[in-house]
Structures are given as structure tokens and as C-alpha cells.
Subunit: 780 residues, 2 copies
């Protein structure tokens, strides 16, 4: 490249650097040529366009045109040294020119050229030159303003931080609700250094640590909250569930061990046993003096409890039950507290009297002596390493004709007289079975609650981190805060809305459960099953999204996602596999439907329904299906109508599909199985509808206007994001048109941006103390 200087340039220092000089006439081109070459994106045709345009300009001297040709030769582009030199010239000049020059690269170039006060400087900054340069800039497709900022190293003022719109304390009061005191108590306890997280412990040590934690909680009376006062309990099931929900902000192994001991094992004695069982056992269960197991699941029989194989045969002679494992598939499996700590087990077995089977019943079977050795006839094995929850000692149990006294039958719902006469206050074996399984409902309520707590922990970590972590950003500005990326909000805030929605639904479920009666028992059971499934899957999705949102830091054990993810994974399976539970929900809805119309014959009913489904479709109003204004899209009546329509239509079409199969000769079991996916979808639609309605009910009671405003946004986001997620269904069934579904997407975007300023306060309102949260990345 030429380094000789033309006469007209001698008085200018603006166009020299590192021994490289640039002709004055070329100065106006320098910024855009630098940007073009530095990005390395000049295509041959772009180069040709520029050549043609510029070579025609009268203000360029022949030697400048020659230099330019050199610069625009794709075979030998400017060298690194040359580009660096250009940049220095531009930056040096940039400091001297005004801010108005920053509007475009051409304008910046012209200003640089004007710094020279001689004739040449004037001649090459004429209007004609300006027009030509602007055209070149457009042809290059480089956008001016930010490119000049890049060139000059300018700094922009950052976005004003926005203020939170509500008081965190008040929101927390609202979320804590009726059981605020016990929640605070649990949090205070768990903030004690004794409960500090430890990562990477071998499972043996981890199990002992969790046992000690469990005992520490029992010492504070938390174990026996739901037990009768006569056994030193508080007779307060609501408090027990709230305590469990709060413990789930901490290590989930602790929650599950706590739940196994005081909820499942103790609960089986409380709910299936009678006064003498309560008096004999509950006190020691509540203090953890008597660690125990809830031995229902068998290797071959997970969800299908009715078909378990363990037998409890009544021996009239000795007035004992003989508990026996008849086959390997009948071994009790995945039993919490079994591998190491349990002394007594509630064992579910087929009751047999005089070779006659009476179905599944629960028996108390001692499995270890006080030294921890297995009792005669009992074989125990360790389930070993698990994906998570390694602080819980899951094990296997086999019984070889183990004899227990007749009194060890938990006999609230069925009794066997010394002579071997079977009696039960519930005549129907199937009703009796489901009543006994009712103990599982408490487990499902608790798992739904702890899945929600795990989601809240994950959201608190990811949103707190996103509020201070920066990555990428516009040139020469501080990197952008993650939460200022719309896509980051889009990923996290609908999950935050889910957590709020589920919070209201969970309170509703706990209320229903703690105040349940014989009349609404089935309703509670159905909703517990549904919410457990929805809440656990939501936890899986939330924790995953939050982990990914924290990048590599989210992968470190200290930041909690490892444990949250691995521990909560099994929530989708235990206390009932989610897909099985959702089919239970669907069955419940079909039964309700049948009862609703129980004046008609079943087939008549189905005929009626098929008509009614058709009618509902034809009634869809095009004005509504096309409505896209914000007022409509944020109208709770629109949300409720959409959720109800979906559920109702799925219910009617499910009934119709099943009926058609039956009338074609399928048996109803096969017909049901054939429609499984449909039924699962129905169940999910049902749960989402109830969740939305509970969110609305909760909202109706909020008096603080600021809380109300932000909660309405969350409700709108929950409703619209759920509709958006299922837009395929709504569009397919003509409930809305494409324009409307696009408008809903726009509203979800908008709601995410409206909630951006409150995101940190909304997770702070979950009130998870720093000690419980762990996760150093959550702290700025």
C-alpha cells in the first residue's frame, strides 16, 4: 500500500497513523469501509456497487481512486495493520467532532474530513458527496447509529431501574395465609446452622444427617401436628401440611423422610387404626422414637395396589395373622425408612380367612429389634443409590410367614373377630378399598405442596440471578442484564405465574382436604390426584428452565438445582404415577357427568351429549373467536369461558368416543384405554380450570390495590400463557382464529414486560430465607 503523501494532505494530521496515510478525499469513506471490512461481510456485488458509485465522484483525486480500488479488491483486502490504523484515525477525529456526527457513518466520515480546514476538505464534503456517501452506506446495509458508537467507543446511559409496584411484606402475608405462624416457625428452625446444606455426602452419612434433622423437627412438635391431643399432638392437619410445604423449601430428602414417618406411617395408624393403635404408637411415632415404614408398593405392583400379592392369612388357632411374601414380584419395594431406620411397618396385604380373600388391608408388622437387626422371618435389603433423595433410606422387605397378633390389623374399616369372622362398616369391597387408600390422598396433597415449594425455590434462584447477571449487549455498553432480555422473561415469568396460580389452588386443596367429609371425599381425592400430577410436572419443567437460565452456574451443586431436579423427579411417579392419576381424574369427571344426568338411561345420556357437543360448536360466535382487543383478552370472563369450554368439550367428546367403541363391541376397559390420551388431556384441562378459578377466588379477597394489580397481571399471564400453550387445540376446535391466537401471544409478551419490574419482589414474597435457599448465585 502506498505511504506517499499528496501535497494537499501535508497540513493534516487527521489522516495519518502508524505510518499509513489516507487521502483526504477518502476520509469520509473511512468509517463505513472500516465497519464493512471489520465485519468481513463485503460480497463481490457489494464491492462492485461501491466501486461504480465512488469511481464516478469528481471530488476524489486519481491517486485516491487508485488507493480505493486497492482497498476494494476482495483478493487482497486491507491488512490488519491498515485496519488498526484506520480505526486510530477515526477515533482520534471522533473525539473532536460533535455528537450530531454520530447519526450515520457517512456523516461521521464527512465530519472527520471537515476537520481539515483546506480547500480539499471543503471540496470533498459538498452536498453531492453527502448524497453519494449516504447511498453507499445504504448499499452496504450497515446501520449508522450503533456502528458509529462502536467505532467511537461511546457509552450509553443504562435503562432506568424500574420500581417495584407493591410491598413484599404484604404479599408474603397473603401467601402465608392462615398458617403463617407455623411457616415462620419452620423457617426459623431450618435457618439454624444445624440444617446447613452439605453436598456430596456418601448416602450412609446423608441418611444419618437427615434422620437427625427429622428428629430435631420432631423435638419442636412438628411430627405430631396432625395427631390427637391425647397423644401429644396438635390435632391440626392444616398446620401439618403447611409445615410440610415449608420444609420442602429445604432439602427434599428431609421433606420426604418427614412425610414418610409422620405423614404416611403415622397417618396410616391415625386413619386406618383405632383408639388403641393411636394410644400404643402415635406418641412414639411423633417423636421419632419409633421410626416406621409405609409398606404398600411391591416390585410388581406400583400403581396397581389392588393386585398386590403379599398375604396376611388369619390363623384362628393362635389368633394371629401370618404375613407372607409369596413371590419375588410381591417383595415390598422402594419403602422409605426400610433400609436402615424403620422398626415397625404398616404392611398392605391381601387378607385371607379360611382360604377366602377379603382384599387389601393394612397390618402393623415389626421388622427390626431395637438394636436395628431384622426380626426373624423378615428380610431387608437396601434399594441402593437413587437419582435423588439419597438422604432417605429406601429399602425392600420380604416376609417369610411372619406372625403378628390379631390386634395388629389396623381395623377402622374392617375387623376380624377372634373366631375369624370378617366385618366391615363398608359393605362394598371396592368402596372399602378406596376408603383405605384414602390415606394416600394426604400424601398427594403433600407432594403437590412440596412440588410447588421446589418450583418456588428454583424461581427465586433463577430470577434473583437474572436480575444481576449480565451477558452480551450492544457494542461499547455494559453487558445486558439477563432479565432485560425479553426471551429470558418469556422463559421464566409464565412459570412464576404458574407458581402463584398453583399457590392459590394448593390452599384450596389443603382446605378441602383438612375439612373433608364423607360427601366430598371423592371430590377431594380427584382434585388431589389432579393437582399432584400438574404440580409435579410443573416443578419438573420449572426447575429445568431455571437451571438452563442459570447456565453453567446452575450446574454446580451449591446452587441447588442439582438436588431440586434429582429429588423432585420422582414426584411424577410416587404417590401415584401422574398418567394413572390423571386417568383417575378423568374417570371421576365421567362419573360426575353420569350422575348429573342420572335420570336418563346411560345410552340416552350419551346420545344427548353428542348432540350437545355439536350444538356448542355451532354456537361459537365469530365475533368472539376473532376478538383481539386487550380489554377482551384480559377479561377474566374470557379466560374462564375458554377454560370451561375446553374442559366441557373434552369431557363430552371423551364420553362419546368411549360410547362409540363400546357400541362397536369393545369392552369398556378397552374403550377407556383406547382413549387414554384424550382422557389425560381432559384431566389436565379440568385441573387448569380449577386452578384458574381458585386464582380468581383468591384475587377477589385481596384488598390492597397494589397487590391486586400485580396479581391480576399474574392471573392474566397464567390464563393467557396456558391458552397459548394449548393454542393448537383452541384453533383446531374453532374456539379462536389465527389472529386472536397471535394477539394472545402479543399479550403474553406484554405481560412479561409489565411484570419485569416486579419479578424480583414476586419471588422475594415467597419468603424463602437465604439459609434455606442456599445458592450463592441468588445473591448479587
Amino acid at each position: 500500500m502506498s505511504t506517499e503523501k499528496s501535497a494537499s494532505e501535508k497540513d493534516s494530521t487527521a489522516n495519518q497513523s502508524a505510518g499509513i496515510s489516507v487521502g483526504t478525499g477518502l476520509l469520509p469513506l473511512l468509517p463505513m469501509l472500516y465497519i464493512a471490512w471489520a465485519d468481513g461481510i463485503l460480497t463481490p456485488s457489494e464491492l462492485a456497487t461501491i466501486q461504480e458509485k465512488l469511481q464516478a465522484q469528481p471530488w476524489l483525486l486519481p491517486e485516491e481512486k487508485k488507493q480505493l480500488r486497492g482497498w476494494l479488491d476482495p483478493a487482497s483486502p486491507p491488512s490488519t495493520t491498515e485496519l488498526m490504523a484506520w480505526l486510530k484515525i477515526i477515533r482520534r477525529a471522533g473525539r473532536q467532532v460533535g455528537t450530531e456526527s454520530r447519526q450515520s457513518l457517512a456523516e461521521l466520515g464527512l465530519q472527520i474530513a471537515r476537520l481539515g480546514s483546506d480547500d480539499r476538505s471543503q471540496r470533498c464534503t459538498t452536498d453531492q458527496a453527502c448524497t453519494a456517501l449516504a447511498e453507499v452506506e445504504e448499499a452496504l446495509g450497515v446501520s449508522g447509529k450503533e456502528a458509529t458508537a462502536e467505532l467511537l467507543g461511546l457509552e450509553y446511559a443504562e435503562k432506568e431501574p424500574q420500581e417495584t409496584s407493591f410491598e413484599v411484606d404484604r404479599m408474603q402475608l397473603l401467601l402465608d395465609g392462615e398458617f403463617r405462624e407455623i411457616r415462620e416457625k419452620v423457617k426459623r428452625l431450618l435457618s439454624d446452622p444445624v440444617f446447613k446444606y452439605q453436598y456430596g455426602l456418601p448416602k450412609e452419612e446423608y441418611r444419618e444427617l437427615v434422620l437427625e434433622w427429622c428428629r430435631a423437627l420432631a423435638q419442636q412438635g412438628l411430627g405430631s401436628l396432625s395427631y390427637p391431643k391425647a397423644q401429644d399432638g396438635a390435632d391440626n392437619l392444616g398446620e401439618f401440611i403447611a409445615a410440610f410445604e415449608t420444609i420442602a423449601f429445604h432439602d427434599l430428602s428431609l421433606s420426604i423422610k418427614f412425610g414418610v414417618q409422620y405423614g404416611l406411617f403415622g397417618g396410616s395408624i391415625l386413619n386406618l387404626g383405632t383408639a388403641s393403635h393411636h394410644e400404643s404408637y402415635l406418641r412414639q411415632v411423633g417423636t421419632l422414637e419409633l421410626p416406621g415404614c409405609f409398606a404398600m408398593t411391591e416390585l410388581g405392583h406400583g400403581s396397581n395396589v389392588r393386585d398386590i400379592e403379599t398375604v396376611a392369612r388369619y390363623d384362628k388357632e393362635t389368633q394371629e395373622f401370618v404375613v407372607h411374601t409369596p413371590a419375588e414380584s410381591a417383595r415390598k419395594d422402594y419403602i422409605g425408612n426400610a433400609a436402615t431406620h424403620g422398626l415397625l411397618a404398616t404392611v398392605f396385604a391381601q387378607l385371607e380367612i379360611d382360604a377366602e380373600r377379603y382384599g387389601v388391608h393394612a397390618f402393623l408388622v415389626p421388622i427390626r429389634d431395637s438394636s436395628g437387626a431384622a426380626l426373624p422371618g423378615v428380610r431387608i435389603a437396601d434399594c441402593g443409590e437413587k437419582m435423588g433423595l439419597n438422604g432417605v433410606d429406601n429399602g425392600r422387605l420380604w416376609f417369610d410367614n411372619v406372625r403378628i397378633p390379631r390386634d395388629n390389623l389396623l381395623n377402622r374399616f374392617a375387623n376380624v373377630s377372634p373366631e375369624g369372622n370378617y366385618t366391615s362398616p363398608i359393605a362394598s369391597p371396592s368402596q372399602r378399598f378406596f376408603t383405605m387408600l384414602g390415606t394416600l390422598v394426604g400424601g398427594r396433597v403433600s407432594i403437590a405442596a412440596s412440588a410447588l415449594s421446589a418450583s418456588k425455590s428454583a424461581l427465586t434462584i433463577a430470577i434473583s440471578y437474572a436480575a444481576h447477571r449480565r451477558q452480551f449487549g450492544p457494542v461499547d455498553q455494559p453487558e445486558t442484564i439477563l432479565l432485560d432480555y425479553p426471551s429470558h422473561c418469556r422463559r421464566l415469568l409464565p412459570l412464576l405465574a404458574n407458581a402463584y396460580a398453583l399457590d392459590f389452588a394448593q390452599k384450596h386443596l389443603s382446605d378441602l382436604y383438612t375439612n373433608r367429609t364423607a360427601d366430598n371425599a371423592r371430590q377431594v381425592e380427584v382434585f388431589a390426584a389432579g393437582l399432584k400430577a400438574v404440580s409435579s410436572w410443573n416443578a419438573t419443567a420449572t426447575i429445568q428452565a431455571c437451571r438452563e437460565a442459570c447456565g453453567g452456574k446452575g450446574y454446580l451443586a451449591e446452587n441447588r438445582f442439582a438436588a431440586l431436579k434429582a429429588d423432585s423427579d420422582i414426584f411424577a411417579t410416587f404417590e401415584g404415577d401422574n398418567t394413572v392419576l390423571l386417568q383417575l381424574v378423568a374417570k371421576g369427571l365421567l362419573t360426575d357427568l353420569k350422575q348429573e344426568f342420572n335420570e336418563m338411561k346411560f345410552l340416552g345420556l350419551l346420545k344427548f351429549m353428542s348432540q350437545s357437543a355439536t350444538t356448542a360448536i355451532s354456537e361459537l360466535n365469530p365475533v368472539i373467536t376473532r376478538k383481539t382487543d386487550q380489554e377482551h383478552l384480559r377479561d377474566p370472563e374470557f379466560h374462564t369461558a375458554a377454560f370451561r369450554y375446553r374442559e366441557h368439550r373434552l369431557l363430552l367428546t371423551a364420553a362419546r368416543r368411549i360410547k362409540r367403541r363400546i357400541s362397536e363391541g369393545m369392552d369398556s376397559y378397552a374403550a377407556f384405554i383406547d382413549c387414554q390420551e384424550h382422557l389425560i388431556k381432559l384431566a389436565l384441562a379440568h385441573v387448569e380450570r380449577v386452578v384458574l378459578e381458585q386464582f380468581n377466588s383468591g384475587l377477589a379477597e385481596v384488598t390492597d390495590a397494589n397487590l391486586s394489580t400485580v396479581l391480576v397481571r399474574l392471573r392474566d399471564l397464567y390464563a393467557l400463557a396456558r391458552i397459548e400453550a394449548d393454542k393448537g387445540w383452541f384453533l383446531e376446535n374453532g374456539y379462536m382464529e389465527g389472529g386472536k391466537s397471535k394477539a394472545i401471544r402479543g399479550q403474553v409478551d406484554l405481560l412479561c414486560s409489565e411484570l419485569r419490574c416486579d419479578a424480583v419482589a414476586l419471588v422475594a414474597s415467597f419468603g424463602i430465607r437465604e439459609q434455606l435457599l442456599g445458592a450463592p448465585i441468588a445473591r448479587a
Copy 2:
């Protein structure tokens, strides 16, 4: 209840059990009343209907009507003893009646009554009685055939097992492809007892085990497969990738350690260094004598490599580079091999000469002496426990003015002369940066491959298990095999189709990568980024679904999901965060679009595009959008057209949205960020289109007709399940109507059932040996 006997019953034993006798006239009713009460679902109005209907029947004696009234009193339903007695009567009689009686409960009842040979038996089985009973049965809504089976304890013949439609060996040959030999070699090696899985190891032991495994692989020449023959390598990049892909059937810590050492660290020397570096280091890298690190990521700079802060300042006096960590955010973080084993590190740092910055370059920095002690100026820390991959020793590095010789600059793309003159064959700093980052492309190709392998392992375990595990089922039949549940197939088989589709796409990517040229480098980079994102997210979804499909057994460490899930989780983040990579893909597509139209000015182009998008919509043909016949839905041209249309439209609308924002005054960075979600969707649509096309290309070369048939089904399932998953978009944009999207759902159902018989063979064709698979539940 009355136990007295009427005269007419004395000669019958059919209606007595356990001291309870049933009037002959009531016998026909017994089966349906038993079923109704045993299920416990008789509503008051049902009871009223039955009462009304039956009390009017002339064939019932007054005392029988009285007994019936007692049975139908909801206030005192039949006792357990009574129900048990009924059941015995029914079963005893059932053994004597023919199979035709099993059609309905009424028919069964009538047959039981007919067993008595007296007048009464005849009188209560008249046609009139038959009709009345059938009506009652219908009113009760109890379906006959299966209820009778339940009552009588009948056994059904099980479904015929279906035959596999193709030969597994041939399919495996096809999948193994060009690199069959190396794949077999790796599998043989990994089947050695040395490589037996060990669960629950403390991380220190686990790291040493994985190091030993890595060394064992190196001893077989696997480490240096891609290195020049001059350095004892095989100069075969394709084999290296195939080996890596196969290793990923085993412990993923091993894959990643292997990849860090031989791929990233060795690859950086190979690709960024020159002959003297190759000669000095590659041999010992390939044998693991020289364990090393690839130190790019910093605490504050994960995805955004351009802004890393570590500095390498050139000191002319001593002709050394001085490597320094200027701030905590600049510490090297998550660096594999750093915590324990690495001796040398390829450190990425900002090159500085004479206070001038030249951008990111790579330097070889010794970090430990041969005794394992950190060298002066180098500080090393352990990242500690991670969610997974705890067999890899990730660590942190800080440099305090560490001096290295000038030769330690990996100088293929830039050199610094002894005097401090900087030269580079690539003038554009941004092109140089991306060329150097090209080393990451190999990492992405490998991660995509190992994510696919992890998916295949998960599918093999879950499908093998589902083929023999039974749970629930019709009454009195063997429980149903999981894979015979349509919903189970629905959950797993589309993921199996994904694995096959990605297999073809992965081969394409490996080919592209190993044969890349300067001309297609960017294309390869874009596809590697896209496939890595899609394949890693697909692995997350697949492993999760497979774990849940295996219930509690899937949660035990021995069944592999724990490790697969935790280890592969980070695939979404490392070697580039998926959302960042997908934006890279979208940027690439936008650039291509620009170049395609590079004769026009950019704005003109955008105008053109907005028109073209509009045109495309108006051209949608209602005949096509409504077409629902199978021939059309399984026509590969329909699939390709749909995938292309989606990608094209998303591309044009993305360009238009960005343009509108720019023309409204946003800078292009902000405009791009504002459309992030749209761009990610575009990128995903692009990758899915390429995957589909690669599936089709692969299919075109298959000559075995049986393989072809099953692969066509998998291709159809892949294409239709992806369209179904995105039906919201296709419906929203008028590409199909509701009827068509429902028909697609039907086809997906049908394809799943067609593929059911081949599912086990299709996973067997992945050829994962038992020793590599682990997972006892995969064995029947």
C-alpha cells in the same frame, strides 16, 4: 335379612351360601345387583328406577319383592357377608352354565335361575322377564361382558405377540454406516469388566476411575484418531467423532473427559497451532501423558467469548507473553481437567501489544508441574460437586502475571514477531475471531452426537422394559404389557422416531464437518450449532419421558437414568447455550437471505420480502389445507412442503419485524433482541427441516425393502409428530385447517400402533451392548 326358605326353593342348592338364601325369582337379578353394590355406585335415582321396574314384575313372589326392597335400601345396603354369599352362589352356578351366558349380566342371571328345573325357574325366565332384566341392566349402566368375566373369574387368551418386520443386523449395519469398525472396536473395549459401572463413588475416586478409563482408551489409539500420522495419529476426524459417539453409550463423564482431552485441548493445538506445536505436544496429548485444559470460559463470560477479560500482554524485552487475570470475573471457570489432572492449558486471552488490543487469542500455559503442584503464579480451585459429570474434574484458574515463551502463542491464524509486530492471514478481526472459535464447532458436533447416544440408551432401556413389564389390565386377565397401552407407545415411539431422524442428520453433520472447506465453513458452523441445540434438548425430553415410563425403577441409579439425566443436562449449556446457538443459526439464515438478494438494496429487499410473505399466504390452497386422506398425510412431499413453508415464512416475517423496528428508530441490536423468540423458532424450524431432508436422503439409499418399510413409518412419524407438536403455528397461519390437524393426530396414533411390533427391534438396532447399557430392568 330373612333366612327362611320358601317351599319352591327347597330342592335347589344354587341359591344358598353361608346360611344366606336367595329367592329363585331373585336369582336372575343377582349378578347385576352384585356388580352394582360391589362398585358402590348405586345412586338414589338408579335405585328408584330399578325398584319401580322390578316391583311391577309378575314373576316375583311377594316375599322376594320384600327381600329385594331390603337390598335396594340405600340406608342399609347389603352387608359384606351377604355380598360374599351372592358371589359364591354366582360363581358356583357360573361353572355350570355355558359361555353364551357370558354376554350380559342379565343373561348370566337367567342361566343361573334356569339351573333349577322346577316351575318357578321356568316362570321367572320368560321373555318378559328377559326384557325387564335387560332394561334394568341398561339403567344400571354396567357393561355385561367384562362384568361377567369379573364375576366368573374367566381367563382370556392374550393378544398374539406380533412379529418384527425387519432384520436387526441389517438395520444396525445401516445405522453404523461408514465407521462400523471403529464403533465395534469401542463397544468391544467398553464391554471389558474394567469399564463396569460403579454408582455412588465419591467424586475423588470417580475422577481417578474416569482418568484410568480415558487412559485405557488412549492405549488403544482412540485419543489420537484425528491427529496427524506424523504424531502417531490416524488423521481420521470421522473415526474420532464416531468413536466419541459410541463412547457416549457408556458413562458420559468418560465421554466428556475424553472430549476435553483429545477433542478440545488436543484440537486447539491441532487447529490453532502450527507444525512445531503439533510436534511438541500432540503425541503426549494423544496418550494422556500430557493431560490438558481448554480454558476459554470465564466466570463473567460464558457464551460471550469476545468479551473475556484475561490478558496476554507481549513483553518485547523478554519476548514473552504475560498472562494475567485482571478481575474475579476473569477467572477461568468450569474448566475440565483443571481441578486435578491438567498440566498444560490452552488459555484464551486478549492479546495486548504496546497497550493495543488485538482480540482473543489462544496460548499454551503450563499450570502444574509433574508432581501435580500448581506452578508459580497459577492458582487452581475445584468447582466441587456438580449436578452430574462428577467424573470430570472441573476447576477454576487464576493467573498472576504468568510468563510464557512467545512460541506458546498458537499461531496458525495470527503471529507476533519477536519485535512485537502483529500479523495475521485474516485481516478482519471479526473473521479471525470466528475462525479461531471454529475449534468449538468440533465440540458442538460431538455434543450433538453424544446427546443422541444418550437418547438411544434411554429409549433402549424404556422400550425394553415396557415390552415385558405389566401393570393393570382387564379384570381376571394377566395385567397388560406396558407397550400395549396406546398412551405408552404415544409417549415413547415419537421419541424413537426422533432418534432415527437425528441419526441421519448427525451423519450428515459429521460428513460436512470432516470434509469442510473455507467455502462451507459458515454453513457447517450454523448447522452444528443448530443440531447441537436440537439434539441436546431432545435428549433432555427423551430421557425424562423414558425415566417416567419406567416408574420407580427408573429412579434407581443402577437403571442408568439418574446418570443419563444429570450428566446430559449440561449439554444444553456447554459448547454454547442453546438459546444463544439458535440465535446464531437465525443470524446465519438472515445473512444468507441477504446474500441471496444481494443485487438489491437491503431495504428494497425487505420490501420485496414483505410482499412475498403476503403472496405466499394468499396462495395457500384450501384443497391442500383441508386434505386429510392417509395417502396425502404420509406423502413425503407434503411433509417437506410443510417444513419448508414454516421455515421460509418465519424467515421472511423475522426479517420484516426486524426491519420495521429499525425503521422505527431502534438500533439493529435492540431490534434483534426484541425478536429473539421469533428467531429461535425460526432456527428450530430450520433444523427440523434439514433433519427431515436428511432422513429422506438416507432413506433414498436403503435397498432392503423391509428396512425401507419400517424407516418410512419412522420418517412419517417423525414428520407428522413434529407437525402435530407445532400445530398451533400451522393452524394460526392457515397452513392447515382443524380437520387436517385432527387427521394428523390420528395418523400419529396409527403409526405408533403400526410401529409397536418393531419397537424392540428398533432399539436393538442401536446395538448398545448389555455391558454398556447397564440397567437390569432392560432385561426381561
